[in-house]
Symmetry: D2
Subunit: 376 residues, 4 copies
């Protein structure tokens, strides 16, 4: 706070906008308002009613080659008992106050050795995992155990008991955890509980949800499901990749996202969880996407191939297992750098939140034939 606070730093000389210059009388008036725990709207109106969104997050690319050694090193530095979970989280320079990777989304890289298991807990946050490397990983959700391999996607929604581990005969696993922790904290609605037994009982055959809910266009007649998240929980890479290929065989590439599919709740056709959605997209060899911008924050992980994305004029070159983010309303375009191999991008986002609240907007870039200029 300076000696001479200014209140007229957001003036705009446009009809319908606030344009009030500080005067001694007004400054005194503002001081009185402050004592009453109030303020004059016209001093902040233009700030809090912007013409369009300007994200506080910045685009970031996290190279897996940079992160991997640090993630593995955590194993030597802290025990699971002391650390709870050995996770390196992604800390967007614009969101350090809320430990977010972008917007209100948290992301972290977790490592687990064969034979290790985390204790079971539940929380109001909704979570997902996307497996980066290793074998023998598993997740248990409300007593249902699921096995996980590279590029498999699994959800552990709001309110479920869940725990993770790696089988003794497996190999060291690293996965990305995605959560809405920042959002749930911001909404002041976060609860946390440790499982009374620290571990769940397995109550069904391993991977039973795949047998019950994992077929296309057909479901058990007498299995009810009314919870607000997907009963399938786990989405395997092999089936996802095949789905994208079959889709591409039938439908022309979208100019912005080539072929993009979103993971769904098979009981409703909607998003997998109430607050976080997830998608996988496939860029054909040589695909160069056009640019657009939309509301919603996105964390991408490269599942296959290599290429680059241009985000608000800045180029980010990515390869398999790299992670990058696209903030809300950032202009972005994706390019597959290979002329022969396809590239796949996994992403998770807050679209279920944005859509439920009626806040989704999309705008294609019209200038320069839809391609951004790269800023130097």
């Amino acid at each position: 706070m300076s000696d001479n606070p200014r209140f007229d730093t957001h003036r705009e000389s446009i009809v319908g906008r606030a344009d009030v210059e500080d005067t001694p009388e007004l400054i005194e008036y503002y001081a009185e308002l402050e004592r009453l725990k109030t303020g004059a709207l016209w001093t902040v109106a233009n700030k809090i009613e912007p013409w369009e969104p300007k994200s506080s997050s910045v685009p970031v690319l996290w190279k897996y080659t940079d992160l991997r050694e640090h993630v593995l090193r955590s194993v030597n530095l802290v025990t699971p008992e002391k650390a709870g979970r050995r996770v390196i989280y992604l800390n967007n320079p614009g969101r350090q106050d809320v430990s977010a990777a972008v917007g209100w989304l948290y992301s972290g890289l977790q490592v687990m050795h064969p034979g290790e298991a985390a204790s079971a807990h539940a929380h109001s946050s909704s979570a997902l995992r996307f497996i980066m490397e290793g074998s023998g990983a598993y997740t248990i959700v409300d007593g249902h155990k699921m096995t996980l391999g590279a590029n498999d996607f699994v959800i552990t929604p709001n309110g479920t008991w869940h725990e993770h581990g790696v089988e003794a005969e497996g190999q060291t696993c690293i996965w990305q955890d995605g959560l809405d922790i920042p959002l749930v904290n911001a909404l002041e609605a976060g609860f946390y509980a440790v499982h009374p037994d620290l571990a769940q009982k397995i109550i069904a055959p391993v991977d039973d949800s795949a047998g019950i809910w994992g077929a296309a266009g057909i479901r058990p007649s007498f299995v009810k499901w009314d919870k607000p998240y997907s009963p399938l929980f786990k989405y395997s890479w092999a089936e996802t990749y095949e789905a994208l290929q079959r889709y591409a065989d039938k439908v022309a590439a979208d100019p912005f996202d080539c072929h993009i599919m979103q993971y769904t709740n098979p009981a409703t056709g909607g998003h997998v969880m109430s607050t976080i959605g997830a998608s996988m997209q496939r860029l054909l060899p040589g695909f160069r996407g056009k640019a657009h911008q939309h509301t919603g924050s996105f964390v991408y992980q490269v599942a296959k191939g290599c290429g680059y994305s241009i985000i608000d004029g800045q180029r980010f070159d990515w390869q398999e297992r790299d992670i990058f983010c696209v903030p809300s309303w950032a202009i972005h375009e994706h390019v597959n750098a290979s002329a022969t191999e396809d590239a796949c991008l996994f992403s998770f986002n807050d679209l279920p939140t944005i859509e439920a609240l009626g806040l989704y907007r999309l705008k294609p870039l019209l200038e320069n034939d839809g391609y951004q200029q790269i800023s130097q």
Copy 2:
């Protein structure tokens, strides 16, 4: 109308029920009411407010070996041009007035030779086909062509342009048509239109709906669908049978239906159409189901194996391609006659209608450990 009409044929001596004996004065009164296009409720109340449903349909088994030759013979008897479609429909003895197989459901066996094609039309009735034999069959719905093999299931919903045919290089095909024609007629809401060009233009790659909507737990992000029926249209036997096997691997057999799955609209998780639902169930080797009764009318077609069903105390032995019906509220149980082979039953029904109107009820048979006595 007899000389002495009786009005007291529905009396019940139970409190809360009508129990009025005819008298000369009442009969004269009834006659006056009739002249005014009215009647006395107590003369019909017990009839129109039964304690529980008593279907006017009777259980019937139609043996494919009986029907096949007659279906094929129709080819020699009538031309497609004159007949419109060469179809032998199933005519339940209790429903001949409405040409229904059971309840308000129509079923017919249609035959088509290689190179033949029916003209395109649209109607308010919703329809489905289940392929019984042959190769090279196809259906075109609103410009999307789908290829069909044995035990494949396809829908042509209310209001869609549709046409069927068999490729010149195919083999004579026979399939079952299922429709809600009797229901739509009963509701006095049936419209029919012949396509102005008698044939549709193909507007997309063959079998494109399978590429767009045919993956489990994932869908295109930017494809909208808000029609009240499934955008998948076609459900292949291979995938259906695999789904049933995977389901059986994870979940114990239901005492009544073993493992039964219903075809769904992947955009909603609900029924494939607004008026007709469809299911496939798999009876494990040696499965002997218990009996129950519920509202809703069902047409079954044997997709695989052999066995029998007991319906209202009557045994019906079935094998592959046979068709039988279970009327509303009929007590029924299904048995797989083989100790080594599984059996699969396709069925379609009016459950979407029954459920939408809040009329579904189910009751297990409690006597005799849940098994019916077979009446002689």
Copy 3:
């Protein structure tokens, strides 16, 4: 069945329609099919797939002056104990087989003397009452008692315990009962139960639903309601009439229905019950509606004023308390005969059923400036 049955009575010489002439060979073939409980589709196709609906109901006007004395006379002819309920039902000449007033809708006039009460029962049919005359009537639904006066509307939905009566200090009451009995019977889903105590216990203050759900645009925050019918149950004439007047003050008359409002479930904004909807419309003085036709069956009761309706070219003059019906797809137009007084028409219908099944269609009359010619 005549000696020479004809099978070619539905021929149409239009491409895409059946046009097969009987031959000796075909007649023999048809006989064989009949033995197998089947038939040839082309003999019935044009009948069961009509170009547009042709209702089996006929338009009927029931004059209250004709019916009233017969309704009252029933009191002397039968006791409530023997009759169950003393009701004269409306028996459409085209629907006598199902005791319907029109389509699948039942309607009856019930009379009850002061101090009388019917025994409590429940059934799968959904019911409504519209009070015609008298005072002191009441209905009890699931333990909630509601008082009823002239032109009040009340529902007793599928599955609810309900009973009716007239207070000892009231006056003889006559009301119209509307039910979906024919529909529920047709769907073979009708159950009936007499209350074990023959009467319910009152569990809440009289008319409590009006206090809980009877305000516009506001509802109790912590009262849950998830049943598929309106928790308001009763809709009073005074409020309904006022609503129509306020509506007419703000919105121009519809050319077909002047000002028409439908009773709603305040918890959803939808229809009051799953199978039956109800509306009240107000025709301004001198209003002469244009003609249209739509699917759905309607029973009208004149709540106020006098006028006439032209239904499929036939004129029906009505006054207060008269009842008339409009069959599905019948062309109809309504006229207020008074140049100074408004007229109000209550109606109930099967639109919830028709809409849920995707079968609603509407078509305005285009010829003759939208007015029918009256047939002689």
Copy 4:
């Protein structure tokens, strides 16, 4: 940032929680992570995964007698042209960074003189007004003009063109504006537009929405509405107060909120807008509510009477037109201080958001018979 940053300030020695002590090696490790735009989860885990919510907002009471003169004084200090709107906003000491009254809710007091009108604009934020004093106020939403008096409630939802004014023959008006500006900004989804003509054309009779949607249990049959907010827009105090009285006549007082009703969208029965809900509650004379806590942030305005609320152990005495807030998960209880007069509290909240995201939780206070101890 101090010279020796600490990373172990959130340790908890509970199984399943993070409990890692800083060591020189770890501190060096943390520094490396920071360079990679990452961090170690265990340093923040206990902070970002709290056992239960702890709001950053504090309970505040804003006395109208304090605010009124300052609000009126703004008229002399700034012109509407320069200020846009003359509004004093409520600035919660814990939320000054986002100009919120509580949580993510904005509130401000706006003053307008007779004959003044604000220019029309639209934004992604949803807004409401609750009239505090004056006469002749009006709001225009998408061309529909509505007149407003004291304690009337009106919404101007996300995306609608809206403008406010006071008729020349009216009296100076003050009202509360409630908005979700902080939420929409936090979600980085805020757009703002000034109307090209600065004012809308009136396209319908004044207060037409009340005639169309303002009746209980009945709606126009042929008026469609599919927008995610209420078509009624305006809720008058007279009708609201009458509804609360009728409700109280039929239903016993809730131990926490006496009689509370929420404003609804009559087309759906749900909340009035996607992000903000609103309620009015009536405390009977002498009512002393018990305490509970729940997620969701609330701004209350006293519509009638006087009393006090205890919020997290602190007592706030309120009278008509005072405003106070209850932060998420704060324990609170309301008391009517009068033994003879009722008291009414208007409130608006973020429950639609909290519920859509599955984050609502409620917990009654069990200690001390449900009453809080007041902290000194």
